[in-house]
Symmetry: C2
Subunit: 198 residues, 2 copies
DNA sequence: ACCTGAACACCGTTCAAGT
DNA sequence: ACCTGAACACCGTTCAAGT
C-alpha cells in the first residue's frame, strides 16, 4: 500500500471528510478548495481524487455526515405536539452545529431525507396528529419548508441583528423560534378540529 | 469618451446588469463569471471593472434589480387577510421570475428590504391584523421566513417532484402554497383571538 | 474618461508516470 | 493500490499603458 510521501501514513476518507468539515465550518462552502484541503492534510492535491470523486461529492459527503447525526424523536407514544417540538428543536440544533453549511443543506432537501430518514418520522407524527393520508405530503413539505426557512433566516443573519437579550439564557432568536413552532402546532390543531367538525 | 475596440459603443452599467441577469438565469450564480460576461458583451474582461466594483457587487446589483420589481399591495383599506395573500403571491411570482437567483436572495434578506421596502408594508398589514407593536418584528420575521422557506423548497426542487397535476392550470405546488398561506393567516387570526380574550 | 493586455495568484481536474 | 508532478482550461483582480 503506497503511502503519502509527506506524511508517512495512508490517507483515509474519514480524515478527508473531517478536515473538509473543519474548513467548511471556518470558511464556508466557497472557502473550501481541493488544494487548501490537501494542504491541510499535508498531501498532494491529486491524492484526494483517489478517495473522493470530485469537489461536489466531497461537499455533499461532508454535509451528509452532519445530517446523519440528526437525533430523531423515538416512537414512545408521547403526544404528537411534544414529538413535533422535539423534532423541530433537534433539527435546529443540528443547523446550529454547522451554520456555515446550512445554506447548502437548505438547497439539497433530498440529502436531508436520504441521510436521516426524517420524512418517515415526520409522517408518523403527522398521522398521530390526525392529518389524513392524502394531506400528508403537502403538510409535511409545508412544515419542513417553514422550519428550514426559519433556520435559513437565522443562519443568514436576519435574526441575529434584531432585538437584544430577552432573558438570562434565551435570545431573541430562541423565543422567536418557540413562537414559530407554536404557530405551526396551532395550525395543525386548527386543521384537525376543522376536519372533526364535518 | 473612449469606446470599446470590439463594439464601437460605450459600455453602460444597464447593459452589464442585463447581460449578467441573462447569464444568472441560464447558468446560476456559479455559472456567472466576469470573463464569460465580458465575452457575452463582446468586451475586454477588464472593462467591466470600470462600471462595477467586483463580482460580488455585480451579483448583488443584479439581484437588487430583480427584487426592486416586487409589486407591493397598495394601502387601499382592503382586509388584511387579502393584502397578506396578495403580498405572498407577489413575492412568489418574483421568485418564479428568476428561480436560479433565489438561493442568493434567500441568503441576503437585507437586500430584500433595502430594494423593495417590504418590511414597512409588512408592518402595516400586521398592524391592521391587530398584532401588538412589541410583537411586530418577531411576527414579521417568522412569516417572512416561512414564505421564503417555502420558495426555497420550491426553487430547489423539493416540490417539483412530488404529486402530479391537481387540475387544469394549478399544480401541486400552487395548491400547497395556497394551503401554506391559509395556515399563516389562520395562525395570525388565532393569535388575535387569543389576545382579544384577555 | 474609458478601454486594454500582460501578469499574478488562485481554481478543479486529467493523465501519464512513479512506487 | 496508492501517490505524484506537470499540464490544461479555467477563475477574479491589479496595474501600467494606451486613446
Amino acid at each position: 500500500m503506497a503511502v503519502s510521501a509527506r506524511r508517512g501514513q495512508p490517507l483515509t476518507s474519514e480524515e478527508i471528510y473531517a478536515a473538509a468539515l473543519r474548513l467548511l465550518d471556518t470558511a464556508g462552502v466557497d472557502g473550501l478548495s481541493m488544494r487548501k484541503l490537501a494542504a491541510e492534510l499535508d498531501v498532494n492535491p491529486m491524492s484526494l481524487y483517489h478517495h473522493v470523486e470530485n469537489k461536489q461529492a466531497l461537499v455533499r459527503g461532508a454535509c451528509a455526515a452532519v445530517v446523519s447525526r440528526l437525533r430523531l424523536p423515538p416512537d414512545d407514544g408521547a403526544p404528537w405536539q411534544e414529538q413535533l417540538r422535539t423534532l423541530a428543536h433537534a433539527y435546529r440544533s443540528l443547523a446550529h452545529s454547522h451554520p456555515s453549511l446550512w445554506s447548502y443543506v437548505d438547497g439539497h432537501p433530498d440529502l436531508v431525507d436520504q441521510e436521516s430518514g426524517l420524512w418517515a418520522v415526520f409522517n408518523r407524527i403527522l398521522v398521530a396528529a390526525g392529518i389524513p393520508a392524502g394531506e400528508l405530503v403537502r403538510t409535511r413539505t409545508t412544515l419542513y419548508a417553514f422550519v428550514s426557512g426559519f433556520l435559513s433566516a437565522e443562519t443568514s443573519g436576519l435574526l441575529a441583528e434584531l432585538g437584544g437579550e430577552t432573558g438570562a439564557d434565551t435570545t431573541f432568536a430562541d423565543t422567536t423560534f418557540e413562537s414559530a413552532v407554536d404557530l405551526i402546532v396551532a395550525g395543525i390543531e386548527t386543521r384537525h378540529r376543522a376536519s372533526g367538525d364535518r
